[in-house]
């Protein structure tokens, strides 16, 4: 039986305020509210708004993490205000125990905690042709598709467009033109949909766009940020795998070869080998690749960065040139993982709706699906999709 809830306590919220009409720079504004500790930061803000200052600006509606309105940063981390408990937020606060709430990042602030999602998020969604291009002829009744295929894309369909992943996307911070995690997760929703007729066109488009699927730096920020377990990065990686393995798309921006290089280097050395990174990415994924003319050109171009890295002590020249070393037994284990994964007849994918929680379950996950786009995953290295538990 559930434990009974704790009595109300006082919490202090420090809100980032900005009034575009005042001519005053953004500032911090503190409010103390009283609520049970398991209530949400949004409820705290609404109490401050109701009792103390109705001018606090925050979009909010459902209070139940389904409408996606109240994306903010709490103690620097993106998420939904309605989905973050006050006691958890206080535990994650600084030494003074004050919960800091700021507008999301990567998008211009309109007022207080309200950002301009049209200018960034929705524009990017529009970029991925976000509607089904239905296979013809349209059947009289429903399209007959595999049960698992629909359950599979439900994970990206579960995206509520809150923008939390966009807020802290590191690739987008560096390259604002990057299509980004939310829009690419949306793209997977169509690529993974067996009713869609243009999967190949979509994939080529997203692979060849220099700001497309290969622009993601694999930092996991979006996976952590997502309040709905959509796992945007996982969807991007699936787009890559389908593009490379199934559609045999060799993108002209080298993203695909760069990724193959990463995989190859880890297989060969167990750890990264910086000196071979560029040659292999541009010349081909082999020892000979490093003598390819294109590799030489890129190697030269990357010299300034490398030198800067050496001077700042970020690169150890010896390790960079000769590679990291791990004990032979460990390398063997790494290679065993490769053998196991590569010997599978089908590619396995993790899906939250199919495998449920990432905790060890009573039943072993059953591999499902024979289509290119879905399946299961028994790999413990699968991304943590349990964003909603955070």
């Amino acid at each position: 039986m559930p434990e009974t809830h704790k009595p109300p306590e006082q919490f202090t919220l420090r809100l980032r305020r900005f009034d575009p009409e005042s001519g005053v720079a953004p500032y911090w504004d503190e409010h103390t509210i009283e609520l049970e500790p398991h209530r949400s930061v949004l409820e705290g803000i609404l109490q401050a708004k109701a009792d103390a200052d109705g001018s606090i600006g925050i979009r909010c509606s459902c209070r139940a993490a389904i409408c996606g309105s109240c994306g903010v940063r709490i103690n620097g981390e993106p998420g939904l205000a309605c989905h973050t408990h006050l006691d958890h937020a206080r535990a994650g606060a600084g030494a003074d125990g004050v919960i800091e709430v700021e507008p999301m990042g990567n998008m211009p602030v309109i007022k207080d905690l309200i950002v301009d999602m049209d200018a960034v998020h929705w524009k990017k969604v529009q970029r991925v042709t976000p509607w089904l291009i239905a296979k013809q002829p349209v059947p009289e009744r429903e399209y007959l598709v595999e049960k698992e295929a629909m359950v599979d894309i439900t994970q990206s369909m579960a995206c509520i467009q809150c923008g939390a992943c966009v807020s802290d996307c590191l690739a987008m911070e560096v390259d604002p033109g990057f299509i980004g995690p939310a829009a690419l997760a949306k793209a997977y929703r169509f690529v993974g949909d067996p009713r869609d007729d243009e999967q190949d066109v979509r994939l080529r488009d997203l692979a060849e766009d220099p700001q497309g699927i290969f622009d993601c730096t694999h930092c996991f920020k979006c996976v952590e940020a997502c309040p709905k377990g959509v796992n945007p990065m996982g969807q991007i990686m699936r787009l890559r795998r389908i593009a490379i393995d199934d559609q045999k798309i060799v993108d002209k921006n080298n993203g695909q070869r760069h990724e193959a290089t990463m995989v190859g280097l880890i297989k060969d050395y167990g750890l990264l080998h910086e000196a071979e990174m560029v040659p292999r990415s541009y010349g081909g994924n082999s020892w000979f690749g490093k003598f390819h003319p294109a590799a030489g050109k890129e190697l030269l171009a990357s010299l300034p960065v490398a030198i800067k890295g050496v001077l700042k002590g970020k690169i150890n020249p010896k390790i960079a040139i000769f590679g990291h070393k791990i004990p032979a037994a460990d390398l063997k284990n790494v290679q065993r993982i490769y053998d196991k994964v590569e010997s599978r007849p089908e590619r396995y994918e993790l899906n939250l709706y199919i495998t449920g929680y990432d905790e060890v379950d009573e039943e072993t996950p059953v591999p499902v699906g024979t289509t290119a786009t879905n399946g299961d995953d028994e790999s413990p290295a699968a991304p943590d999709t349990e964003g909603s538990a955070a």
């Binding site: 109705g54 139940a64 089904l132 598709v145 049960k147 369909m157």
Partner: protein, 572 residues
């Protein structure tokens, strides 16, 4: 002034469906919403959408279940339209991309739902509303050249021409604070119900009865306003919804004795009786001292009966809700729930094409009352209602637009000035009265106390007195925000006025109906009385043809349309 053949206010399922249907005919269409369309409250609909698509189902069976669920107050012609058109509508949704879950054969899977005689609820996990809403928005993005979108524009008034026809709106761009007039041949209200009149409620903060009050204020009658649905499974402290899909998948309700008490109240359908029946049963258990929790004010919903794998796949959202909002792992332990305000069956009275009694003004979805839900809505019929009547309203309005020129919005400038003045006056109110937020809270508590599952004359009279006082107080209630950019505070003051109008109509109708039917249970009139009350109660501000607003709410009656089904005793 922008002008359109069809201007839709509200961008939930009804509004977006109306826009897409109207645009398909070549009409010039715009859709306006006070929030971004995907934030609309349709997003929260969880369990699914009903349609007789199974080969061994028949829409007449669906229609009969709906009629019975409505406690015979639903209009049967409208119910026939909704249920007979449902299969084609669900197939249309499937064709444009809704990711309905499948059975092993790859066809649409169906789940059991309350009050239904067989499995006929198509679903996307327990995020069906979200899945459909987002797919419709995909279509709006696709058709961006034919449907103009005014996102985050708050409608402040409906415009009428000299003959009383609706011919546009006044609206405020929330982001800039700029006010503008819009000319339209037809306006379709699709801006949802009025759940925020109650506290707690499952409804979102934006569900404030705007459209109901705006139509009412220009003379459109409201119908069935006394019929307020309490959902049987909501979280006690904040009203968050636990989908009926849980019971559809096999979850049971238990009282403090561990009894599956629905045996006593609905021996055949048990937990899947209609919502009014289940909510009343729970309330009775609580009132008789068999509630659970510290204050014995709750009931256990035990979902552990459902296989864990199935729960994770098909009820994922409530797994999260249990964990995040109640600290309970529903796959391993029961969760405490109680009946909570969820839906209003009433709304702006319309015909089966969504037309209200004000020419040029349509309504569809929860804002409207066709009436397909009568005294009690069946679960998973609301999505269907929004889509069927949203589409019909869109098509009908577009057809009407094709026959006429753009009406002259002769009152537009005056109304714009008046609305600007109203807003300026609210912003300038001195801080000597009550806060808007205080009044809103008192309203919600009052309604939840007196106009809830069980009602009686004395309580309702008390509620009417309080609502009337709050209406007076709201006229001087003050706010804090003095700005123009995203001034949510001043919009909250306007919403309070809408909510109070809705509350008043609800209380007046509940006092009027001296019987128990559907969601209206009067402890002082505990029986259904077909001889006297098998009729709709209409509430209007100008029933006698006088100017709107004079003399307060006026009551009249309209007959229930019957086609195939005579009223009978209702048993589950």
């Amino acid at each position: 002034m922008p002008s359109h053949d069809v201007l839709i206010i509200g961008a939930g399922l009804a509004g977006q469906r109306a826009a897409l249907a109207a645009a398909q005919t070549g009409s010039s269409v715009a859709i306006m919403s006070k929030v971004h369309p995907v934030r609309s409250h349709s997003v929260a609909a969880a369990g699914g959408i009903n349609a007789a698509i199974s080969v061994d189902d028949d829409w007449r069976s669906h229609a009969y279940d709906t009629v019975k669920g409505s406690d015979f107050l639903g209009d049967q012609d409208a119910i026939e339209v909704m249920c007979s058109e449902a299969p084609a509508e669900v197939m249309h949704l499937e064709h444009i991309g809704v990711t309905f879950h499948r059975n092993e054969g790859g066809e649409l899977d169906l789940r059991a739902f309350g009050g239904a005689s067989m499995k006929r609820t198509a679903y996307v996990a327990d995020i069906t509303g979200q899945a459909i809403l987002h797919v419709l928005y995909e279509q709006l993005m696709k058709h961006h050249e034919t449907v103009d979108r005014y996102e985050e524009w708050f409608t402040t008034s409906l415009l009428q021409d000299e003959d009383g026809r609706c011919c546009g709106v006044v609206a405020r761009d929330v982001r800039s604070g700029r006010m503008e007039t819009f000319n339209a041949k037809n306006v379709i209200l699709a801006c949802g119900g009025a759940g925020q009149v109650y506290r707690p409620t499952t409804n979102a903060l934006i569900v404030t009865g705007d459209g109901i009050a705006q139509a009412y204020r220009i003379g459109a009658p409201l119908m069935d306003m006394e019929m307020v649905q309490y959902h049987p499974t909501t979280l006690a402290e904040n009203g968050i919804l636990i989908t009926e899909g849980a019971r559809g998948e096999g979850a049971v309700l238990l009282n403090s004795e561990g009894e599956r008490f629905m045996e006593k109240y609905a021996p055949n359908k048990m937990e899947l009786a209609s919502r009014d029946v289940v909510s009343r049963a729970e309330q009775t258990e609580i009132l008789e001292g068999r509630g659970v929790g510290a204050e014995r004010s709750g009931i256990w919903l035990d979902i552990t009966k459902v296989p864990r794998k199935r729960t994770l796949e098909a009820l994922r959202e409530i797994v999260n809700i249990g964990k995040d909002f109640a600290g309970v792992d529903i796959t391993r332990e029961p969760i405490m729930i109680q009946p909570g305000q969820h839906y209003i069956m009433g709304g702006v009275k319309t015909d089966i094409d969504g037309a209200t009694q004000v020419e040029g003004l349509y309504a569809a979805g929860e804002v409207a009352c066709v009436s397909v839900h009568g005294g009690n809505r069946l679960g998973a019929n609301s999505l269907l209602d929004t889509l069927i009547f949203g589409r019909r309203a869109g098509e009908h309005a577009a057809a009407r637009a094709a026959t006429m020129g753009m009406p002259k919005a002769s009152t537009a400038d005056a109304q714009l000035r008046e609305d600007v003045a109203t807003i300026d006056a609210i912003i300038a109110r001195p801080r000597t009265s009550r806060r808007v937020s205080e009044i809103k809270q008192e309203l919600g508590d009052t309604m939840n106390q007196y106009v809830a599952v069980y009602r009686d004359e004395a309580g309702l009279a008390q509620a009417l007195e309080i609502v009337t006082r709050l209406q007076e107080e709201s006229k001087s209630a003050y706010i804090d925000d003095r700005g123009t950019v995203f001034n949510q505070d001043v919009l909250g003051a306007l919403e309070l006025g809408y909510m109070l109008d809705c509350a008043q109509a609800t209380v007046v109708a509940a006092i009027e109906r001296k019987e128990s039917r559907g969601a209206q249970f009067r402890t002082d009139f505990p029986e259904r009385n077909d001889a006297e009350w098998l009729k709709h109660i209409d509430i209007s501000l100008n029933v006698n043809g006088g100017p709107p607003g004079v003399g307060g709410p006026q009551i009249s009656y309209s007959p229930v349309t019957m086609t195939q089904w005579e009223p009978e005793e209702r048993k589950y």
